[in-house]
């Protein structure tokens, strides 16, 4: 499609601007081509208002069958590229069929839009929000313009947030007790905890704490799981002795995390795990994985 557009110059320039674009927070977003652009940030139930201006090329007129702007929430599976599943679709008609001779501007507004899901760029899928302007024509195809924007939703701090405490081990070999101060962390949170060695009969070389992201797509037999290690944080160097207590303090802010997403539109889930890994001198790995929930907290 693209090369066709490139081959035939578009008959007009379409630009989409948000009415509060200047004051709205801009955040970086990675495009498919690897480039990062800055886009406006919204959250659910905000009104999305702005202007669409259409400017025909010099001396040309555009005959159209109507102009509309759509707000789309889409999920795109990479194994089924190009096929979007729209979970949200709102339309505003901007113009009745007619001709445009000169630059024409249409204000639009989608008030208190429900956008329950966050923009997400995963390993096997992406979820995006976009404004789509269509100038419908009889011939020469419709002229379409997109404007991406990003959605992030904030959660209040959970009312119940228990610590994770567990004793694990291999009989007569290694017994440890670990504790993470919470089970739910916000994105800029710090994981505080400690590992207490009850029994050490193996020669441990070091111990790491990993943050792993598990993204599962599809359902039933078609479920596809992709696990990524986002952080590998060394907690301990050398072999501890019995009774030793090793502190954990892991700042989450340096890592590119998202909140935990559970069964988004029956399409996918993203979960986070803390993986405690002990490596012995023969490079054998002993690990214990624990799920943690991550949420986005409103910046104060």
């Amino acid at each position: 499609m693209n090369f066709l557009i490139g081959a035939f110059k578009p008959a007009c320039n379409i630009s989409i601007t948000f009415s509060d674009g200047k004051s709205r927070k801009q955040v970086p977003m990675k495009k498919e081509n690897g480039k990062t652009i800055m886009v406006s940030l919204f959250q659910s139930k905000e009104s999305i208002a702005g202007k669409v201006s259409i400017e025909p090329l010099q001396g040309k007129k555009i005959e159209h069958l109507g102009v509309k702007v759509e707000l789309l929430g889409q999920i795109e599976m990479y194994f089924d590229r190009g096929n979007f599943y729209d979970f949200t679709s709102l339309v505003r008609e901007l113009d009745v069929p007619g001709d445009i001779y000169e630059r024409k501007t249409y204000p639009f507004e989608f008030s208190t839009v429900e956008m329950p899901y966050e923009t997400y760029n995963g390993a096997n899928l992406r979820l995006r929000y976009v404004l789509k302007v269509t100038v419908s024509r009889n011939y020469g195809g419709s002229i379409v313009e997109y404007q991406d924007f990003m959605v992030r939703n904030y959660s209040p701090p959970p009312s119940i947030n228990n610590s994770i405490k567990m004793e694990v081990g291999i009989e007569d070999c290694l017994h440890i007790e670990f504790e993470y101060n919470k089970s739910k962390y916000h994105l800029k949170d710090v994981i505080i905890g400690k590992i207490y060695f009850l029994l050490v009969r193996i020669k441990i070389k070091n111990m790491d704490l990993e943050i792993r992201r598990r993204e599962s797509t599809g359902s039933g037999a078609n479920t596809h799981v992709e696990t990524e290690t986002l952080a590998k944080f060394e907690l301990m160097d050398g072999a501890p002795v019995r009774g030793e207590s090793i502190p954990i303090r892991l700042f989450l802010s340096p890592y590119e995390l998202t909140p935990t997403y559970r069964n988004i539109n029956n399409k996918f889930s993203v979960k986070y795990y803390l993986n405690l890994v002990l490596v012995d001198e023969e490079d054998r790995r002993y690990f214990k994985q624990q799920e943690i929930a991550i949420y986005r907290q409103q910046d104060s």
């Binding site: 060394e234 301990m236 090793i246």
Partner: protein, 785 residues
């Protein structure tokens, strides 16, 4: 893995240094351009070089020092917020993002120290956090260096905090708590090094560990430098915590080093006031710890401290330092069953030195120490170990040196018991030391009891000890016995009664010494007794009543016993001389029959024991000399004795000897003095007889061979003539002298002998007398030359 070559290690070190330099280059660039992000990145990469496990502690230290220098520069950068624009609070979080723990913690410590200095957060919390986070490094060497870095970088801040009295005492405690915590963890890591690797590299491991001990001890050093650590804090917090760690770590190297470190870094005053606590730790350490080399310096330091001022000394008394030390040593020895004797003895030596310095007036303490030592040694009859023996000698010598007065040592009841544990050779050496000490200090030992004790001490010299192997060096033996002889002269009391007791005791002991020793010891004893006799003679008037136990008679009885023992050795010549001395003394006391008895013994000896002709000549001359001075004898006794003497003289083997003895006998009949015998006739008789013998000798000589011998005899006789002539012996006439001179002249001519110097002087003397004039000149006038 085990056989890491030195070359490989050098290579790894070089690689590590190169890595540090490389990253340091970029770090400097980042710092110059105030680029915090890069600075953190490159510093973390640089510090990653310290993650190596391949280097020995010494090499690792080199690497560490390189990184350390760079970190100082980084610290300066962190300090200056205007350069990087990040608050220290944020910086403190930022450095914790590093994925690897070792670089992360080094950076955390670096920022932490800046943070403390900024006072933006309570120092206590920051210190607590740093020391806690360092738990993450459990590798012994890396952990030790990391914590050492923490200690190093926080040191000046701690000293500030610790000395900051403007706040309250709590800030001091914060600093103390921090150091103690860090110290404890470092020690644990250090101890753990020992457990790493297989047993056969143990020695190497220990060497490596020793190289690292300073890192651990540094903490204690810093503690001692904090002004706020007063006695109270030291007593309540510092010492108990440190000792707890020392005891609990159950590692001999660590225990040894740390105890030593405590003793060295903290002031003496603290040790004195916490002595009990400090000492209580010693019995709890591992049996392999060399306690003596730790405790000894402590006692040494304390005793020096005690000497520093009188006020301090009272403190020692207050805290009962001696009792505490003594108890501690006892406990240590009790607990460490396997401690070699040398260790125990060394401890006692130190304790004794301490006692002598601090409580020189407390002899009971000294005795107590010796007693404890005896107790320890009770299981070992004789020490075999050379070092132990050496220490024991030191133990025994210390009181002698201190008191300069051996009598003091004699009052120590345990002293001889300690000596018993020495082997025979050393026992003798020790006995010699005692004697030398007495001689050096000119100590007079004046009571019988002390003499008894003394001889008990030096019994190694006095008699053959049980099981002594007789491989004595003759010279040594002589030296020893001469010393004993000298010692006998040092035993003296002005009271005759006590003196007699002393003599009896000495005699009792020396008698046990056997024939080899008697010739050395008896003369001293005899003269010592004779001195007593002469002394009593001087105060004769005082001796009245029959109850007096010490009379010359008694002493003479004892003397004859002694000399008799000597003659049984046999050592007749010595016995003979001593008899003569006794006879002289008896003469002085006017005890005729005693003197006669002694002379009888002399003659018996002469007849029965002295066979050697040379010895006979000497003996005869001695007898003549002695007899000539005797004035106690009545005529009859005297005649008997002189007769015997002249008889023996004439019966000597060689003619010249006969001749000389006979003319010497002439003196027996001519004694100067008021009531001396002057029997001119018998004098002449003797001289004539001497002449006859000389003649005979001359004839014999001329037959056998040419000899000027007999002529000398004539000149000698001439001299005798002249002597008596001058003394006024009427029987010796000028004519007789004239005759003798002529005789000599004739002999000279026939003998064609060269001029005789002796004769020439004699003639010159006559000439001189003639020219002198006066009575003597007139007398000599008639002699013509």
């Amino acid at each position: 893995m085990l056989l890491i070559g030195a070359e490989d290690e050098e290579k790894w070190l070089a690689e590590g240094i190169a890595g540090i330099q490389h990253n340091a280059f970029y770090l400097h660039r980042a710092l110059d351009s105030n680029n915090l992000r890069d600075a953190l990145k490159y510093s973390a990469q640089m510090l990653s070089e310290l993650r190596t496990s391949k280097l020995s502690p010494q090499k690792y230290y080199e690497l560490y020092m390189r990184a350390f220098d760079e970190l100082r520069i980084l610290e300066m950068f962190f300090k200056d917020e205007s350069k990087h624009g990040v608050s220290v609070v944020d910086l403190y979080e930022l450095v914790q993002h590093a994925g690897n723990i070792l670089p992360r913690l080094y950076l955390l410590c670096t920022v932490g120290s800046v943070y403390i200095k900024s006072k933006e957060a309570p120092a206590k919390e920051l210190l607590q956090d740093l020391v806690e986070m360092c738990h993450g490094v459990q590798h012994p060497i890396r952990g030790l260096f990391l914590r050492s870095y923490l200690a190093q970088i926080s040191r000046d801040k701690l000293l500030d905090i610790g000395s900051d009295y403007e706040g309250d005492a709590e800030t001091v405690m914060d600093a103390v708590e921090f150091i103690l915590e860090n110290f404890t963890e470092m020690n644990k890591l250090w101890v753990r090094m020992q457990l790493e690797g297989p047993g056969r590299v143990r020695e190497k491991r220990e060497k490596e560990r020793s190289a690292l001990q300073e890192l651990v001890g540094k903490n204690l050093h810093v503690l001692s430098q904090i002004e706020g650590v007063d006695l109270e804090i030291y007593k309540e917090t510092v010492l108990p915590r440190v000792l707890e760690q020392v005891v609990n770590c159950k590692d001999d190297l660590s225990q040894y080093y740390l105890m030593d470190c405590i003793i060295q870094v903290f002031p003496d005053e603290y040790h004195l006031q916490t002595l009990e606590m400090l000492l209580a730790a010693f019995p709890q350490v591992q049996p392999t710890v060399d306690i003596k080399t730790v405790l000894s310096p402590l006692m040494d330091r304390l005793s020096k401290y005690a000497a520093s001022s009188a006020d301090v000394l009272t403190e020692f008394l207050q805290v009962e330092a001696f009792t505490k030390l003594s108890n501690a040593i006892e406990k240590v020895i009790e607990m460490q069953v396997d401690m070699p004797a040398v260790g125990a003895i060394t401890l006692y030596v130190s304790l004794l030195t301490f006692t002598l310095r601090v409580h020189p007036d407390r002899l009971d303490y000294v005795d107590q120490v010796l007693g404890a030592c005896v107790k320890k040694l009770s299981s070992i009859p004789k020490l075999e170990d050379r070092w132990a023996t050496k220490q024991l000698v030191a133990l025994l010598s210390a009181p002698l040196e201190k008191y300069n007065d051996t009598v003091t040592a004699l009052t120590l009841s345990n002293y001889p018991r300690v000596m018993d544990h020495l082997d025979n050779g050393t026992n003798k050496v020790m006995a010699m030391v005692i004697i030398e000490s007495i001689m050096k200090n000119n100590t007079c030992i004046s009571t019988a009891d002390k003499v008894e004790v003394l001889f008990e001490l030096i019994k190694g010299l006095i008699k053959d000890l049980d099981g002594a192997t007789d491989e004595l060096d003759e010279e040594d033996f002589k030296d020893e016995q001469n010393s004993v002889a000298k010692l006998i002269h040092m035993l003296y009391n002005n009271e005759p009664e006590e003196m007699l007791k002393i003599i009896c005791i000495v005699w009792k002991h020396t008698m046990a010494g056997g024939p080899k020793r008697l010739p050395f010891t008896v003369p001293s004893l005899v003269f010592s007794a004779l001195r007593l006799v002469r002394q009593m003679q001087g105060q004769e008037g005082d001796i009245v009543g029959e109850e007096v136990p010490a009379t010359p008679k008694k002493i003479f009885q004892l003397l004859s016993q002694m000399i008799e023992a000597l003659s049984a050795v046999p050592s007749p010549e010595l016995a003979l001389r001593l008899y003569l001395q006794c006879a002289k003394a008896a003469n002085g006391c006017d005890l005729e029959y005693v003197a006669y008895e002694f002379f009888t013994q002399v003659f018996v000896l002469y007849e029965e024991e002295i066979a050697n002709s040379k010895a006979q000549v000497t003996a005869i001359h001695l007898i003549i000399g002695a007899l000539q001075r005797m004035n106690v004898f009545n005529v009859e006794n005297r005649d008997t004795l002189t007769h015997k003497t002249t008889g023996y003289s004439a019966r000597l083997l060689k003619k010249p000897d006969q001749c000389r003895a006979v003319y010497a006998c002439s003196h027996l009949f001519w004694v100067d003095g008021q009531d001396g015998i002057r029997d001119g006739e018998r004098v002449l008789l003797c001289l004539k007889r001497a002449l006859r013998i000389a003649n005979a000798a001359q004839q014999m000589a001329s037959i056998a061979r040419d000899s000027s011998g007999p002529l000398t005899l004539f000149v000698e006789i001439l001299n005798k003539y002249l002597y008596y002539f001058e003394k006024g012996n009427k029987q010796i006439t000028a004519a007789a002298i004239q005759h003798l001179i002529e005789l000599i002249n004739t002999e000279m001519q026939s003998d064609s002998a060269t001029s005789d110097a002796f004769l020439a002087s004699t003639l010159r003397y006559i000439q001189f007398q003639k020219q002198r004039g006066g009575v003597m000149g007139a007398k000599f006038e008639s002699i013509k030359l």
